[in-house]
Amino acid sequence: MKDVRIGILCFQGAFKEHRYSFEKATQLVDKDIELKVEEVRKPSHLNGLDGLVIPGGESTTMSIFLKIGLKIRLGLAIGVLMTIERVEEGIERSHGCRDHVRAEDFMESLRDWMSKKKAMWGTCAGLILLSNNVLDWKNNSQSLIGGLHVTTVRNSYGRQKDSFEAKLTLDEELGGEFPGIFIRAPSIKSIDSEDVRVLATLDRHPVSVCQNQLLATSFHPELTDDYRFHAFFINMCLNTPSIG
């Protein structure tokens, strides 16, 4: 019996659906495992996880939760310049209000955690956050987690009226078809490294990729009752180094 701890980033989005799918997916995993699915809302929640899911939701919204830590750092810098007693005031100035997550730097903790080569899976908005390059037809830039050598396009298929369901073709190892649900989905415009493996395609275009310990899907397996991607990710978690 092996323990597997998977965290789901719970800032915003469909995280309960992921939890449910993981619980179902344990039946599809060959090995004897004890799966724990945990909610991640603070940096300390990352401790000891074998894998982390960045669920679908709004990438802009989630990136704001990630960015708040950066604002604190700026606040500290201003504070230090003004003598240390006024750090708090510096934080206040940098954010317009006393920061809500003082002393918590999510991005930094996340990068730290990722450096241990733990498994990560981004669905939809999560794919955007994991991509090294993001093309946007609007000008607002987002803070990205990065790591995955692909270029993605946000809201690539259009607005909600253009959202759709379609059958996907899986690669040989996974085999067969998969029900793809695309909600204001991003697309993968290009694959920028030979390390990236295509797991699923739609009309021959990649819609799911993996690269070492990173997995990404532009669609939502958590909204279907097909749990193969969740099982695939559990297996990825089993293969990551367990440093704890």
Partner: protein, 316 residues
Amino acid sequence: MPILPGVKDGKPLNEGQDTVPSIGFGTFTVKSGLAQMAKGGVVMDVTNAEQARIAEQAGACAVMALERVPADIRKDGGVARMSDPKKIKEICETVSIPVMAKARIGHFAEAQILEALGVDMVDESEVLTQADYENHIDKRQFKIPFVCGARNLGEALRRIAEGAAMIRTKGEAGTGNVVEAVKHARTIKRQINFGKSMDEEELYSYAKELQVPYDLLVKTVEMGRLPIVNFAAGGLATPADVSLLMQLGVDGVFVGSGIFKSSNPEKRAVAMVQAVTHYKDAKKMAEISEDLGEPMVGLNCDDIGEKWSLKESSRD
């Protein structure tokens, strides 16, 4: 380095027609999927592009475009209608998060216009003046999802039967008073629990009493919650209000007048977004709630002339 055909310099794919697959647009899965992606988020009422930008930067998961915020509709009176398409287009161009817009109850032509404008979700809303005494919009005819208000389980399930992909409590919009939203959230919860205590014969009678399809009621009782995403709306003005409703089991919140009628909209908007994520953590809620400036001036629900939550088809 393969470049996919059909995606041009980051422009949306729907501009070219060659790559969009021909099956499965506007299915119920796709409609309710958008609501599922909004979970754990705040939808903020905005009247123009500038407010929409503030909402997006604060972390709203969607914005709701309307002509006037509910508090102003209460103050000014008159007929409240769908927003000017020009305003909606400006908002759609300004933000990358989903844009929702309100249509009057029963006014399917307004909803058709909103769909043509590319709005991501329509709110068939009691906040606007009612357009049909007897009927709600047949929401199944649309490719885009609808959210509808409900005071109780009967209303919620009737709206779902008509094709709504998301439900919200009605509350009492424009008051800054959370009491009605609490009442509606608790009523829905209690009625589902009541159904759970029933055997099949009793559920038949209960379906008749609630005037809802039997199968839908059975499914709801089995799941122990509404079968689609359920948000709170109508009078939420503080982070604590958000936490209260989240703890009563809703999936997210709508905030209307509460933000742009407060003294510091930017700060309050950020706080409301943080609250929906950290609602269980009282210590964090204390930090979030601190020094937000004056909230909107509230109204007691007994003092208001008209209860909007009573707007409903007369046959309901």
